[in-house]
């Protein structure tokens, strides 16, 4: 099959997008799960502090989300910009 240099670049960008988003989603999913798990454990032990613990959980998860958002941004860039 025939393809040009531009095709090759475009194809690589698409493959890169899939790899970036796919692999990039592993860490945040696991990390946020770990945070959530520990928060449930902590609330079970000290339910009075549920509000504080939920807030801390969400802040922690938000930070751990960031790498997933970086992956999303790069994947979108690879698909639509380059």
């Amino acid at each position: 099959m025939e393809f040009t240099g531009a095709d090759l670049i475009q194809a690589s960008a698409f493959l890169g997008a899939g790899i970036a988003m796919g692999l990039g989603a592993i860490g945040p999913g696991l990390g946020e799960g770990f945070v959530g798990g520990k928060a449930c454990e902590a609330i079970g032990r000290n339910p009075e502090e549920a509000g504080l613990l939920t807030r801390t959980m969400l802040v922690g998860q938000a930070v751990s989300e960031s790498t997933g958002i970086y992956s999303l941004v790069i994947a979108l860039l690879l698909v639509f910009v380059v």
Binding site: M1, F3, D7, L8, Q10, A11, S12, A13, F14, L15, A17, G18, I19, M21, G22, L23, G24, A25, I26, G27, P28, G29, L30, G31, E32, G33, F34, V35, G36, G37, K38, A39, C40, E41, I43, G44, R45, P47, A50, L53, T54, M57, L58, Q61, A62, E65, G68, I69, S71, L72, A75, L76, V79
Partner: protein, 483 residues
């Protein structure tokens, strides 16, 4: 090029794959056993001969799977397969992948019962007599996947492929090797965890040996199922009549089928094993809970099996209704479909297993929570199933897509990449949701009065952990439909 060179090259590559991958698991498992033997001897130096003997027996069982790999590698190095047809280059690589990857889980898994048996005897020397038997039964079951892998490797080496079309037969043989090799990892590994926990529990509560053995064997049997799914697909791929089918895109369907069921079996196999392991630990912790434990474990395992069943279904669809004609777009879409559900099933399978296991542990804390715990576990598992359902959706869309457009390289790669994005992207959220659900079940066991608060926290945390799977789904859709 002449057949003999191509086949020889495949054989040597296959031998390398067999021995390289095949050496990992057994060595890890043996190291684990020896490590615990050392700790146990430092605790009771007087028993060192007994511990050393036990260690060597356990290590010998773990070694078996590596010896299978060695056998296949030697066969591949010294037999000339070229008289049995050109396709034997692929058969040799498939055989190497099957036994190489397939012996990892069994080798590593066999280490857990060994380690826990020695450790257990050092804590309860009076269990020494029956501990070795308990250990050997646990190890024997987790050896099964490696035996499946050996059977597939032997069939691939000794079957005659003369006169068959080079493609798609070659794809079927490599697909069979991938299916069985990858598909054996989780079941062997998970079965080992269950065996280890049964030995540990026996040391803690010697009078519960019978209950522990039953739970272990039932749990191991369920965690063995994904490997059987892989075995079925491997047989189907090897013995399917492929005469008259054009090479492409059907070759991609066969490879995709192997990838789907192979990767898809890992999570459920390991997860269900971990579930059984927690059930054994729970029984030894609170003997009163033993009665309902088996039901609890089986409900959790049934849900944990779903991702592997999705993968099996898609794999069967690729083989039976996969397109036999089409362009490069179809070819890449079929590989993408296999990767999406295969990889995507890993996280949810593992996560659901961990979640179910913690529910078993949770009911031992306060027996009156049993009903609430079941609800908790099922809600947590349902949310944890979402990533694999996304993956299944993407796979089905790729399988049944409309590929009438122009087949350019970028468009074809975009379809493959959609599968990669969704497949890998579902691993983390699937497992992460399981970790949250697991912790919520254990917390409920501690504080049954806080069920509402815990449920809310669990769902919020799972929703956040889900987000990256949704990003992966969005990117997969963009790659499939927008570009």
């Amino acid at each position: 090029m002449e057949t003999v060179f191509i086949v020889k090259a495949g054989q040597y590559l296959g031998a390398g794959l067999a021995m390289g991958f095949g050496a990992i698991g057994a060595a890890l498992g043996e190291g684990l056993t020896a490590g615990y033997a050392n700790v146990s001897i430092s605790r009771r130096p007087a028993n060192s001969p007994a511990f050393t003997r036990n260690m060597l027996v356990a290590q010998a069982v773990a070694e078996t799977s590596a010896i299978f790999a060695l056998m296949v590698a030697i066969l591949l190095v010294f037999t000339d397969l070229s008289p049995r047809g050109l396709c034997n280059w692929a058969a040799a690589i498939g055989a190497g992948l099957s036994i190489g990857l397939g012996s990892f889980g069994s080798g590593l898994g066999a280490g857990y019962p060994g380690a826990q048996a020695i450790w257990g005897v050092s804590r309860q020397p009076e269990t020494a007599g029956t501990m070795t038997t308990t250990m050997l039964i646990g190890q024997a079951v987790c050896q099964t996947p490696a035996i499946f892998a050996l059977v597939i490797a032997f069939i691939l080496i000794f079957k005659d492929f003369t006169g068959l079309p080079s493609w798609p037969t070659s794809a079927a043989l490599i697909g069979a090797g991938l299916a069985m090799g990858l598909g054996a990892i989780g079941s062997g590994w998970g079965g080992g965890h269950a065996g280890g926990a049964a030995c540990e529990g026996f040391a803690r509560q010697p009078r519960l040996r019978g209950t522990l053995m039953t739970t272990m064997l039932v749990g191991q049997a369920v965690s063995q199922t994904p490997a059987i799914f892989a075995l079925v697909i491997a047989f189907l791929l090897i013995f399917k009549d492929l005469s008259g089918i054009p090479a492409w895109p059907y070759s991609a369907c066969l490879l995709g089928a192997g990838l789907a069921v192979g990767f898809g079996a890992i999570g459920s196999g390991l997860g269900n094993g971990l579930n059984a392991s927690s059930a054994c630990t729970a029984i030894s912790r609170e003997s009163g809970a033993a009665k309902g434990m088996l039901t609890f474990m089986l409900v959790g395992q049934a849900v944990g099996q779903t991702p592997a069943i999705f993968a099996l279904l898609l794999s069967l669809m690729l083989v039976t209704v996969g397109p036999t004609e089409g362009n490069l777009l179809v070819t890449m879409a079929m590989i993408g479909a296999g990767l999406s559900i295969g990889l995507g099933a890993i996280g949810s399978g593992l996560g659901n297993g961990v979640n179910g296991g913690s529910a078993c542990l949770g009911i031992t804390r306060s027996s009156e929570t049993s009903q609430g715990m079941m609800t908790f576990m099922l809600v947590g598992q349902a949310v944890g199933q979402t990533p694999v359902i996304f993956s299944l959706m993407v796979s089905l869309m790729l399988l049944f897509g409309n590929y009438s457009g122009v087949a350019t390289l970028p468009a074809a790669i975009a379809l493959l990449s959609a599968g990669i994005s969704m497949g890998f992207g579902a691993i983390g959220p699937g497992y992460g949701n399981g970790i949250v659900g697991a912790a919520a079940c254990e917390a409920l066991g501690e504080r049954p009065d806080q069920a509402g608060l815990l449920m809310r926290t669990m769902l919020i945390a799972q929703a956040v952990a889900q987000s990256t799977a949704i990003y992966a789904l969005v990117i997969a859709f963009v790659l499939m439909f927008v570009v």
